[in-house]
């Protein structure tokens, strides 16, 4: 018979109506899924007892078969192009946003809005790669719970902007997960420690993961977590400590020029030694290299502390910066929450304790704390708790506003407003007889438009001609409980209106995703092929449209023969789209990308020139 959990008084579920909800920590290095069973938050392990799922997806063949987690992780060095790790860094990001793109082994495809990856299973967007990870976690949860899954709370870094949040939500939708809410990771950690139950004050969340370091300053007041400041280092984590031990071992054993296989062996021995030193004051680092050479070294905690001292110090710089940004002194902090496996290292605990003058909160497993908090929030949103004196609210991490004349940002919803929220502001026309207004939606704290992130643009038309300054245009910003934005504009005298739901301009619309989902359910057998085809078509159509609009705008940059080549490639692309051959479509897309490359470069030059011109006028 079915297995039951103990419900809160009066909240027993009817048969087959379980309100199963999960929390997902979709991490850069590892991901976890947790739920609340009989009132206790617990992380769900896989069949081998592993709680952590390495956030690695490997495309195994052209049909799009995937391996996820540990299996994919071990293949990274032999198949770097098709085994995608740390995809979270690419979510909602264009190629230009990724500073480290040159250092990554992937074949990037520059697509409008979000970068894509060329794999042996075709071109994949970071959303699709993340969806594979989420699908694996969802399957694990379904195997672990009685009855259907109602939904999930998924955590995102506090600094994620709208595009990155939307991309995360889309990935969940593609994986067939109903997103109850997106929750900031530091907020989730604070919830796991029960800080939301009354302990008002300022908290710092120190999150040292495998490859990233984030620090957040939160203020809890009346059940609302406000993110006062975030800082961090996107290239600092536990892996760097492994590497320090590895370098130390090379030096001690007098080794150099190791083969990649030996390097991996020694690095994993270094990691084991590091982990052992969290429990013991001494350990041995041993590995047998491929030529039979035995490396066996004694490593003391004190030595490890010395060789990693500057890494520990490096984490304190972002901590100081975040406190400074928040205008808070270290002595005003009420508690420090430790997140991430790397915070188990005693020297980290000690450095944090010394810096803040108090012992950090560390009695929950730092790998699990974010997922546990997400599960607690999910359980609440699913309606499994009754005594709700605390209604947890989240806040907008970055201000939202629009562009005004002169390339300046006018904030409409300031950062740290609790969500859901709606705010309106009135604007007017700039020129006599102006009948349309272009509305450029921005996110960020900076004054100049060029320093903020552009989220969307739309145009309000049909403004009756009036003298400049006479029209009254009311612009309303509305943010739902997930932190996602819709913007509407209305001219008050004529009633002319326009609105937009802010979908960052990458890839798939809700309808596309919905269609892909329902189709894949209806045709399970040819699901993979159908999905690949549709994705290729959506991708191709996006490119065709982008090319068309580029030609319409800047067609004069092309001479007749160049124009001819592009037109031919465009037609071929359209033809391929009508067919059902994924490979043909992808080839046509590749060709079109190739022949428009020079054109794109010229357009960019022109835009830069225009932008520079605009600035001069502004200065005058």
């Amino acid at each position: 018979m079915a297995l039951l959990q103990i419900a809160e008084p009066g909240l027993s579920a009817a048969p087959h109506q379980h309100r199963n909800a999960i929390g997902i920590d979709l991490g850069t290095t590892n991901s976890l899924v947790a739920t609340v069973r009989s009132g206790s938050a617990t992380v769900l392990p896989d069949a081998d007892g592993n709680c952590l799922l390495p956030s690695v997806v490997r495309y195994l063949d052209e049909a799009g078969q995937v391996a996820i987690g540990h299996v994919a992780l071990t293949a990274i060095s032999q198949d770097p192009i098709n085994a995608i790790a740390s995809v979270k860094r690419l979510m909602g990001r264009g190629l230009k946003d990724i500073g480290e793109a040159g250092a990554l082994p992937y074949r990037f495809v520059d697509a409008p809005g979000m970068v894509q990856l060329q794999t042996r299973a075709g071109i994949k967007s970071p959303v699709e790669v993340s969806a594979e990870i989420l699908r694996a976690l969802k399957a694990r949860a379904e195997d672990s719970l009685t009855g259907d899954l109602m939904g999930a709370v998924i955590t995102v870094p506090a600094y994620f902007d709208d595009a990155q949040r939307q991309a995360t939500k889309d990935a969940a939708q593609l994986a067939g997960i109903n997103v109850l809410r997106l929750l900031n990771e530091p907020t989730a950690a604070a919830i796991a420690y029960g800080l939301d139950n009354g302990a008002e004050g300022i908290y710092v969340v120190y999150d040292l993961g495998g490859g990233t370091f984030d620090v957040s300053v939160l203020r809890l007041a009346k059940g609302v977590f406000e993110v006062l400041a975030t800082s961090g280092d996107s290239a600092l984590g536990g892996d760097d400590f492994d590497h320090r031990v590895y370098c130390w071992a090379l030096e001690e054993a007098g080794l150099s020029g190791l083969s990649p296989g030996d390097a991996r062996l020694l690095l994993s021995a270094a990691r084991q030694a590091k982990e052992a030193l969290s429990e013991h004051a001494h350990t041995r680092l041993s590995a047998v290299l491929q030529d039979g050479l035995l490396v066996d070294l004694a490593l003391a905690r004190d030595t490890f502390r010395d060789i990693s001292r500057n890494l520990v110090q490096k984490t304190l710089l972002p901590v100081k910066k975040a406190l400074r940004d928040a205008g808070i002194g270290a002595d005003q902090v009420k508690g420090v929450v430790m997140v991430g496996g790397a915070t188990r290292m005693p020297q980290i605990q000690q450095a944090v304790a010394e810096f803040f003058g108090q012992a950090p909160l560390n009695n929950l497993d730092p790998d699990k704390v974010v997922a546990l908090g997400a599960a607690i929030q999910a359980n609440l949103l699913a309606g499994n708790k009754q005594d709700e004196e605390w209604l947890l609210l989240d806040v907008i991490p970055l201000s939202l506003g629009i562009e005004t004349m002169g390339g300046l940002t006018e904030k409409i919803i300031p950062r740290n407003s609790t969500i859901p929220v709606a705010r309106a502001q009135e604007f007017t026309t700039f020129k006599d007889g102006q009948t349309a207004m272009s509305i450029h939606v921005l996110q960020g704290e900076r004054e100049l438009v060029s320093d903020c992130r552009s989220l969307a643009r739309f145009t309000l038309r049909g403004i009756p001609p009036m003298v400049a300054g006479a029209a009254r245009i009311r612009i309303t910003f509305q943010v739902d409980a997930d932190g996602l934005l819709s913007v509407s504009a209305r001219e008050q005298t004529s009633g002319a209106a326009a609105s937009i739901e802010v979908k960052p301009s990458y890839g798939l619309s809700d309808d596309d995703i919905g269609r892909m989902l329902s189709d894949s359910l209806a045709h399970v057998r040819d699901d993979i092929d159908a999905r690949k085809l549709r994705e290729a078509q959506v991708n191709a159509q996006g490119l065709i449209e982008a090319t068309r609009s580029a030609i319409a705008a800047d067609g004069d940059l092309l001479d007749a023969s160049e124009r001819n080549v592009i037109d031919t490639a465009l037609t071929a692309c359209e033809q391929a789209c009508l067919g059902e051959r994924t490979r043909d479509i992808n080839e046509a897309v590749g060709r079109l990308n190739q022949v428009t490359e020079a054109f794109a470069a010229r357009r960019m030059d022109r835009n830069i020139q225009r932008a520079l011109k605009g600035q001069k006028i502004g200065e005058l």
Partner: protein, 107 residues
């Protein structure tokens, strides 16, 4: 007769109550619904009802009411793992039929 907890169920119940931070015990009951007639109720107890009955098992209070008792008398509540799933299972000697999923039953 009585309602009892297996050793494993008792260990889990006391752990869950400790983590929850409050609770006098648990309540087992039946309500009419489900595809096979009746469904189990399993809840924490914070307040006793005037017509409550309770049994002691492994030092824990197991509450029920008279009407429910007639359907679940003799039940042993067990805690089991099935694959990745785990939870409480009613070993109820009164059951004649249950629906395929076992979430509702008939006596």
């Amino acid at each position: 007769m009585a309602i009892t907890l297996s050793e494993s169920a008792a260990a889990h119940v006391s752990n869950f109550i400790a983590k929850r931070g409050k609770g006098l015990g648990i309540r087992l009951g039946v309500k009419t619904s489900g595809c096979s007639g009746m469904a189990y109720k399993l809840e924490f107890v914070d307040v006793e009802n005037p017509d409550d009955l309770f049994f002691e098992s492994h030092g824990l209070r197991v509450y029920t009411d008279e009407k429910s008792l007639s359907y679940i008398d003799g039940t042993e509540l067990d805690y089991v793992k099935e694959g990745l799933n785990e939870g409480f299972k009613f070993n109820n000697p009164n059951v004649k039929n249950e629906c395929g999923c076992g979430e509702s039953f008939n006596v």
